[in-house]
Amino acid sequence: MASLISCPHCGPRPKEEFAVRGDATLLRPAPEASDEAWHAYVYLRANPRGVHVEHWQHVGGCRRFLVVERNTLTHDVLSVADAAEVAQGGAA
């Protein structure tokens, strides 16, 4: 993990101020979706080597949820956005 994450509200901050909340690419299945789809959503996680998109919360700062795109191999942080704005904008 890179040592700094640039919060869109607070600027560059040490990663210790953030808490990881897991994969941000998962999409919630429809209520009537199959058990297999729900099982995959709740339990199955990829562990990608390379670019990954995750939810991080800036618990030591503004407390906002962020969508962080980072490379698990090189530890580069590629982009950081406010999760609420991402959700409203419809982009993953």
Binding site: H9, C10, G11, P12, R13, P14, E16, E17, V59, G60, G61, C62, R63, R64, D82
Partner: protein
């Protein structure tokens, strides 16, 4: 049935740091513990952050505290700041009286940035962290609000339950510079 009217209306109030040892001599780098400021926390209602910012912009003692969030402070405990703000902002924002929930410390002196650098992972260079800038930061695992209110003056707000731990951390951070600690009048 007991008589409820006999309950005391005024309760004893004690500063969480009232029992600490203060310095005999004030050094050039000094940490001042405010006695009992009036503190209000303001969160804008959805979509009203521009209007709230415009109203707060004309007021003194306003500190930025993240998106759609502000802290307003007045040294005078009688200022009744939260009530005045709630009246002024109406339905534009939610106002919370944090006067009894938070302690306020003021760190001043030529070495204040080097002292803070021992606990805060933030670039505090005057060109980066300008006058009036502020936000929540982690300092020795304690979430506190830090703002720059003067050239060499920083203001710290932290929950009162963390006051003794934070003061202990700040004293250790300032030991190299003989940081002195005192209660304000």
């Amino acid at each position: 049935m007991s008589d409820l009217s006999s309950l005391p209306v005024a309760f004893d109030w004690q500063h969480p740091l009232s029992a600490i040892l203060t310095s005999d001599v004030r050094a050039v780098d000094h940490l001042e513990i405010l006695a009992r400021p009036s503190i209000a926390r303001v969160i804008a209602a959805a979509g009203e952050s521009v209007a709230v910012a415009a109203i707060l912009g004309g007021m003194a003692g306003v500190r930025a505290a993240g998106p759609q969030e502000w802290i307003v402070l007045d040294d005078d405990p009688q200022a009744a700041l939260p009530a005045r703000l709630a009246e002024r902002l109406g339905s534009l924002a939610f106002v919370l009286d944090a006067g009894d929930g938070e302690v306020c410390l003021r760190l001043s002196g030529p070495h204040c940035r080097r002292i803070l650098a021992k606990g805060v992972g933030l670039d505090l260079h005057p060109d980066v962290f300008g006058l009036g800038d502020g936000g929540f930061v982690l300092c020795h695992a304690i979430r506190m609000h830090l703002s720059r209110t003067g050239d060499n003056l920083f203001e710290i707000l932290a929950p009162r339950s963390y006051a003794t731990s934070l003061l202990d951390a700040l004293k250790r951070m300032g030991r190299e510079f003989d940081l002195s600690v005192g209660l304000s009048g």
